[in-house]
Point group: C2
Chain length 357, copies 2
């Protein structure tokens, strides 16, 4: 959408902070706010049969996106989907094995397999995600902004080469050393795919785009800058170069990469996600108010008593400089075992302590 | 040992760098240099039946410690053992499930279990490790220094509460938030255990002690400083306070914690391990020559061709400041799938490019 037809929302705190405008209170949403900790989610999930069925059904994906908004005073909705939809659309056949997390039945194992990969056609291969965005946009009306998202090219490549989750992703890391030409080719195909995917989400109704680089922290500095941040930079540039998406803010989240925070802030993105291991105040002092900072409550604290959660939320607010452009969030997704009450305590504490005077 | 009876070694490059003395060439050893990538190791391992049997047999533990020294020009030996011997000695019953890594049959699940834990008696409960150190010391003679080691209190606590390996150790992280009193009690018992364990290893013949804090990087800054670095500080202090161990250098290795590098250097340790995600030169400029820096080749590069390995070793040397006290190593342990030739290429490159003019 262009400047002229930018959506007018009843609650635009989240977008205002991304644009560098003043707000009355720190906006809040939580990564994985739609999910297993909610009994109403578990019901819909059971109805869908499995996780991918849920992602692929636009009505059900819309329903679970809306569920947490009925319970909590969140300032943004986020598309319910998975970060691995693009590799699935490339033919790797994603499934979720019980207790094992994501598995690709056809992982990418050599240079020939990388050469053969096709950039998916968003509308035919990933149409179910775009339909979900349209459903959610309609359900939200003009109440709240909707965040679209994708995995980062490196993070997608890591799963595609490893074939499943891993604690160190040794195979894709070895591939970048052994055959950097194929590595770059894989990253380039994913960069184009992610750019087209996010543009389509924005055209369908997303007001912001977040790129999850879950595994950037496993790379050497040189590799991170080249393969992970380098590809995210190209995506930011591609969105800015298209009049339909030029004004849409992009948030980058590279977990475990705070040492590269200045390079990340220089990409022209609107916001940076912070994991729970860093101090918001330290990062804010490094990047100034060039970008918004989103984070960074330790998700593990949602297992503690409400007063412990409250105190930690308060501490985070006390630690930030006055000019910090801050979107409250966790430092990683909500874990399935927490209670809806703990999440409520966190959100209420943001409402209470996050006001600007 | 006191200053007077400090062991005189034929090759003391490793200890000299830890003491801040000049050397002709950068010393090198590699984490997990004794291990599955060596066919002779796999033979002994098969003979032992399982991994814990190998750790518990001082003759076999000595044999596998010596194996890589026969192949490569390493400047130090490291005790062959596991980081989880202390929790096993506390009664948690460590075993290694096929394809799953370490599992405790009796994990620590509540405050009562923490209260009931006893600090092990090193000589009765961990006598097999001390016997292995004595065997290795005898086998080494005065040729090379021997490194003893332990897991850090936080890292041991993480496995003890989780009950097994994990990518995020959600249970122990939640425990620190929910019940910090029990968390501190567990850390304190482990701090005492690790101190006594390392002292006994040094008395039995270890020339240096390394503390592996594999999971320090999962903690918030406040938690890291309190539970992980705080307990390692107490261990450094305890070794310094004992005349038998006061002169023995200690190396701390907190993976993924470079943001705390200055606090680590302030503990009075002799050296800091660096993982592969940071630039040696950047860290050297932050800590100056207060401590030795040990690292930090990406272990994933050992899957690449020898000339790629050589070039990366050369790049690391080129990046360090002239006054950097450097011990060459990997940024994490050797992975089982690499070839003995790749390891040889790395060691030869250190010999070639690591000379001081």
């Amino acid at each position: 959408m262009t400047q002229d037809n930018r959506r007018v929302l009843q609650n635009d705190r989240f977008l205002k902070v991304l644009r560098g405008e003043a707000v009355d209170r720190t906006p809040v949403w939580l990564m994985r706010q739609a999910g297993r900790y909610l009994p109403e989610y578990r019901e819909v999930r059971a109805q869908a049969g499995n996780f991918m069925n849920l992602c692929m059904n636009p009505e059900l994906a819309c329903e679970v996106t809306m569920q947490p908004l009925r319970r909590y005073g969140f300032d943004a909705a986020i598309l319910f989907s998975d970060i691995l939809t693009i590799p699935d659309a490339m033919g790797l056949e994603l499934r979720f094995a019980a207790g094992e997390g994501p598995v690709f039945d056809r992982p990418v194992q050599d240079a020939a397999a990388i050469k053969a990969l096709k950039v998916p056609d968003v509308h035919s291969d990933l149409g179910y995600v775009i339909a979900a965005v349209e459903h959610i946009r309609a359900a939200l009306g003009d109440s709240l902004p909707l965040i679209g998202f994708s995995g980062s090219p490196w993070t997608l490549a890591a799963y595609m080469v490893e074939g499943q989750g891993s604690k160190d992703f040794a195979k894709p890391r070895a591939m970048l050393h052994e055959d950097p030409t194929s590595g770059q080719m894989l990253i380039d195909k994913l960069t184009e795919s992610v750019s087209e995917y996010l543009k389509a989400q924005i055209r369908a109704g997303a007001d912001a785009a977040m790129i999850f680089d879950t595994w950037g922290g496993l790379l050497t500095s040189e590799q991170y800058l080249k393969y992970s941040l380098g590809s995210m930079q190209k995506i930011v540039d591609a969105l800015k170069a298209d009049p339909d998406t030029a004004d849409t803010p992009v948030i980058l989240f590279s977990k475990g990469c705070a040492r590269h925070i200045n390079a990340m802030a220089d990409t022209g993105c609107a916001g940076l996600g912070l994991d729970w291991t860093v101090e918001l105040g330290d990062i804010a002092r490094q990047v100034g108010n060039r970008v918004a900072l989103q984070g960074n409550l330790d998700p593990a604290i949602l297992n503690a008593a409400p007063e412990v959660v409250r105190a930690e939320v308060q501490r985070i607010f006390a630690s930030r400089p006055n000019d910090c452009r801050h979107i409250f969030n966790l430092g990683h997704g909500i874990t399935p075992g927490v209670t809806p009450e703990a999440v409520g305590a966190a959100v209420e504490a943001v409402h209470e302590f996050g006001t600007y005077s």
